[in-house]
């Protein structure tokens, strides 16, 4: 065992133990670590966003555009120059929400944001999910190999029954009721798989913390 001599690792290890102490019961050490985390995160993200978003994407290009010898409105792709005044103004309009009487102006900026992302999302979903997934679902039931064929049949039955479960225009009775019950079973299996994966993810985080404590801090490797 060789304890770390790194001050940062000691800070991380002690704060990790402070957070873990909550599992015993709420206590001042946990509160301290929690508040420190919230404060540092808020400060970190404000500074990070200022330098990587506002300065890099707005201030620097505008400064270049209006520098002596610059061409404010002759931007090429990716070099939008003075046109960046428009998103800059729209960004400032978002803050009008803080001033009651002119707060309505923020809706213009929100309208642009929502419009752009609705367009991107709709086309992306249509191409990447809807069309491609329908295409991927149309597969032959008999592939020449028994294992693959059983898999394809199970997939098709699961797909149709799960879709029928979400068909609410008729009461789930008779054949429709039976099919939707089968659909529920398929959905339950998928929820179980999702839960199992979620447990794995959370345990991975715990393992990561213990690896940090045992290997990086205590030097047990």
């Amino acid at each position: 065992m060789s304890l770390s001599h790194d001050f940062g690792i000691w800070c991380g290890a002690l704060l990790t133990l402070c957070i873990f102490s909550f599992l015993y019961k709420d206590n001042p050490l946990y509160k301290f670590a929690e508040h420190l985390f919230v404060g540092v995160s808020a400060g970190y993200y404000i500074v990070l966003n200022f330098w990587t978003v506002i300065v890099a994407n707005l201030v620097n290009p505008l400064a270049t555009a209006f520098a002596p010898g610059g061409h404010p409105f002759h931007g090429q792709l990716g070099d939008y120059r003075a046109f960046l005044i428009v998103p800059g103004v729209l960004g400032c309009l978002l803050f009008t929400r803080l001033f009651g009487r002119i707060g309505w102006m923020s809706r213009w900026a929100l309208a642009v944001i929502i419009g752009v992302y609705a367009g991107l999302k709709t086309t992306g979903f249509a191409q990447g999910d809807l069309v491609a997934q329908v295409q991927g679902s149309l597969q032959p039931l008999w592939t020449g190999r028994v294992g693959d064929s059983i898999s394809a049949i199970l997939f098709t039955v699961g797909l149709i029954c799960s879709l029928l479960f979400f068909f609410f225009s008729r009461e789930h009775k008779g054949a429709l009721g039976a099919a939707s019950k089968v659909g529920v079973w398929f959905l339950m299996v998928s929820f179980g798989a999702g839960y199992g994966y979620t447990v794995m993810s959370r345990i991975s985080l715990l393992i990561g913390r213990f690896q940090f404590l045992l290997e990086d801090w205590l030097g047990l490797r």
Partner: protein, 279 residues
């Protein structure tokens, strides 16, 4: 008082203590449980193996320190496999908390390869705000979306970054490797890039997200998938590495058995209780 009644009143701190012991135990004394490589992981490995040697690959590292135990091992192993094939790697980050940890990870791998130089064999283009808009913009030119790299070198400065000389848009890459922990990530890369620009794609994701990506795997939109720490460990096994994911898998297996046992016992206790109330 019966065993089941006592279990019902069990202080949950005992469960935390047992879980901690099950996680720490195998780290101190490894058990070396067998690990089988699944088809999605083999697909991930094969997709990189089939990339022509020396080509330039796009790697999207969309995560931040909160998912480090799952994301970092797969990033490191993928980088090593690409470097072993003499591929050049262009890295982007669309998570604002990500550039630091991604740069640290990339530099750690690059330090294992003394012949690999920054700007020549790999480049970290850093963070760009805009989510899907950045992905679409990259289709018009990578340098348009990322005018400077993480170290503030201009991406059209081919003296500082010679790697960018052959990088135009998505057509410059034979493969997109998406290592993602959420939004924006693999789902958005599939929707905005794979479906529009038809660039072959593989994904490494957190375990929470993995079930969401199996349909993409089944439809062939992604060619391989690493799901969480288990996926990373299987990938390490294929590469004959023993990284942090492999070292964590014994603890992962024991913890899963314990959680399954808790679910079974919890249901048994509730079932007995309901029967008692009904009687």
């Amino acid at each position: 008082m019966g065993l089941l009644s006592r279990l019902e009143k069990l202080d949950r701190r005992w469960l935390y203590a047992i879980l901690a012991a099950l996680v720490i135990g195998p780290m101190v004394r490894p058990l070396y449980f067998p690990l089988e490589v699944s088809a999605p992981v083999r697909g991930f490995y094969d997709a990189i193996r089939q990339v022509p040697d020396g080509s330039t690959v796009l790697m999207a590292c969309d995560y931040d320190p909160s998912t480090r135990p799952e994301m970092v091992p797969m990033t490191m192993t993928a980088m090593r496999q690409l470097f072993d094939k003499h591929c050049k790697v262009v890295v982007t980050v669309l998570w604002n908390g990500g550039p630091g940890i991604v740069d640290q990870t990339l530099r750690r791998v690059a330090s294992e390869y003394p012949d690999k130089r920054y700007g020549v064999d790999w480049v970290n283009l850093g963070y760009k705000a805009g989510y899907e808009a950045v992905m679409v913009l990259m289709g018009q030119g990578i340098a348009n979306a990322f005018p400077v790299d993480y170290g503030n070198h201009r991406t059209n400065d081919y003296v500082a970054l010679p790697i960018m000389q052959n990088v135009r848009d998505y057509s410059s890459f034979p493969l997109l490797v998406s290592i993602s922990a959420g939004y924006p990530g693999t789902k958005e890369w599939v929707q905005q890039v794979n479906s529009r620009f038809h660039i072959p794609m593989i994904s490494g994701s957190t375990a929470v997200q993995a079930p969401e990506f199996y349909p993409y795997l089944q439809s062939g939109q992604i060619r391989g998938l690493l799901g969480g720490m288990a996926g990373a460990a299987e990938y390490e096994k294929l590469r004959n590495e023993r990284g942090s994911a492999t070292r964590g898998m014994d603890a992962q297996s024991l913890a899963h058995v314990f959680v399954a046992l808790c679910i079974l016992l919890g249901n048994l206790v509730q079932w007995r209780k309901r029967r008692g109330v009904a009687a």
